[in-house]
Symmetry: C2
Subunit: 419 residues, 2 copies
Amino acid sequence: MANLREQMTDLARKAQRAARVLGAAGSDRKNRALQAMADAVTGGQSRILAANGRDLEAARAAGLSGALLDRLTLNDRRLRDMAAGLLEIAALPDPVGEVDQEITRPNGLRVGRMRVPLGVIGMVYEARPNVTADAAGLCLKAGNAVILRGGSEALHSNQAIGGLVSEAVREAGLPAEAVQVVATPDRKAVEELLTLEGWIDCVIPRGGRDFLRWVAETATVPVIRHGEGNCHVYVDQTADPKMAEEIVFNAKVQRPGVCNAAETLLVHASEAPGLFPALLPRLVSAGVELRGCERTRALFPEAKAATEADWATEFLDLILAVKVVEDFDAALNHIARYGTGHSEAIVTSDYFRAERFLREVDAAAVLVNASTRFTDGGQFGLGAEIGISTQKLHARGPMGVRELTTTKFVVRGQGQIRS
Amino acid sequence: MANLREQMTDLARKAQRAARVLGAAGSDRKNRALQAMADAVTGGQSRILAANGRDLEAARAAGLSGALLDRLTLNDRRLRDMAAGLLEIAALPDPVGEVDQEITRPNGLRVGRMRVPLGVIGMVYEARPNVTADAAGLCLKAGNAVILRGGSEALHSNQAIGGLVSEAVREAGLPAEAVQVVATPDRKAVEELLTLEGWIDCVIPRGGRDFLRWVAETATVPVIRHGEGNCHVYVDQTADPKMAEEIVFNAKVQRPGVCNAAETLLVHASEAPGLFPALLPRLVSAGVELRGCERTRALFPEAKAATEADWATEFLDLILAVKVVEDFDAALNHIARYGTGHSEAIVTSDYFRAERFLREVDAAAVLVNASTRFTDGGQFGLGAEIGISTQKLHARGPMGVRELTTTKFVVRGQGQIRS
């Protein structure tokens, strides 16, 4: 244990040293490193696939399920996507060094805020090995050193990717320790990462509810939490029924297993009779299980009865809770009570209620007349994303390169002293 | 204990309810509440002073020292300042509701970021009761509900101020629970505040090193840390000696007990012989104890010998560590090793080194040719400040009203779905 702490502190020490170099590196040099990383993934394909084969073999032996095996599997196409992702990151604008909000004070001091890297980032995530390359690329672009700790099932894949990428960074003239992968499968290593104050500037955990809770309890370093999405679509009085139908269907069915998929449909009492006859059978045909309130079931008896727990559940599956609400305020109250602050949408033609929804609903993303599925770094124009933050401090919603930076005050004087 | 948890959860529940109303309240209404708060402090002077008298009596009985007693003491002037501070906050611009970085995506979606309140803030601080009014005012201006927990020595003063201010908020038509003061002196109440996930959006602790460490270990809610300032002034080769002398003197002597005072002077080897003869005797005359490296003592034998610990100490007193460094990089390395990331200044005439210092030194504020004492919300043009953050996430450096807010993505569509 003491030994593990020493190992992790050593990683962090090297990362901190690398971060100082990265922080001062210009965009050209970082972009060359990103291109080299992309080449390394392409050139190292056989090495990565061999390592992935070992992980898959162990996973099958351990009886992992089909969906998990699929997430773990790498192949030609996935490696091409990985390399393409790194090149996309190279093409993004570099926020580091920008100064904004500069003002000149009455005493002549010029005070601005310069965007600078966070420093050393710890990234703790689960099975998908492509996160290793994405996270390494995004952190490097923002000038940060990163310590990566993926799921133990993907250990060999992550080490192969990390090794190639780190070597590419070194060949491009930046420190290899800009990207480090934790080598031990020991889960205690995560505990050490979470408590390395003074060494690690921020940990970004991605995972399920229990894991995130454990992180919150364990961490003494700052954490950016990527939580669940119990997302709602509220169909308001005055909503265009066809638009509402398309948005609800898209939000639930297009990709049900992700955090920005809708989990509960709220419908204004006066809209339900017009909306349900087309929408609900279409959802059922698409394999969606409906769990409705009493008023929903009065209009559409095929729906199962919803329980209290259904309103609070992120199904991540083809299940939709449906509730008829008396009015706009009842919808807002329901969202305030059960929402997880991820993505909330309204379908409406009413200007005032659209504005109130945007202003009053407390979530990382609030949408008017658009599917919740748009909450995504790419869709919002940020480029690649490292995740979607559901916390309020620092970064909220999709996090791109810019959200992996911080600011400092830069002050230019001519000898001013304070009186 | 279970009972205390229930009490604190109850405060937080009320605060959350109040926060929903405050979040939707316009600037006019919030400003009227701030004016009413100022009037309440003025009108309630005798009640506040009576409560303060009880605290002072208990503090004297407990043998509190002069400086602590002074910080605890309220009088006419301090109450006038408190009221004036609230009126200044009313006059500041309101950031809530601003939308920036709005873009239109190729599919026609308009995606912007709206500035919104954090929600419920817990504020944990020490003796000075004026923080109660300042923090209440800043949080309210930003649309947040606040739960205040000052030092137990100031319990009666804080309750008197909190009670008056909260009543004034209610009379101005906003919820009284926008401002709540924790009534119990039990320190376990702070532990409860720090673990009320889902109820409290952020805790801002102010205090000494041990207290902040305990907070980091205990908290499961997000924390904005206000840490120490081991600040440096580096006098570079080419610095104007007179400018350097004035800046160093100001940074050390003008107010030595605060976090933006300088604690260590670094001097380029070629500048030391020109700088020391005027500067060091002047510091000594002002009562400053000098603790120098060997090269410093060779030039100025009156200085005591500095120990390793001196480089790492925030003296908060008339003590200055002095080190002669070989070159610019040695100064940067010293700051990287011993600095606490608060405020770091260089005195130089060299353009390239000024720019490198601004870019490469990792601190909340980096200053060229100006005293570290300028790191302050008022001096930086933010208006009043709730503290100075030394962490990198969310807010760094002086925190004003804007830093007490977050953003959310607001998306306006015309029926877009994701394909």
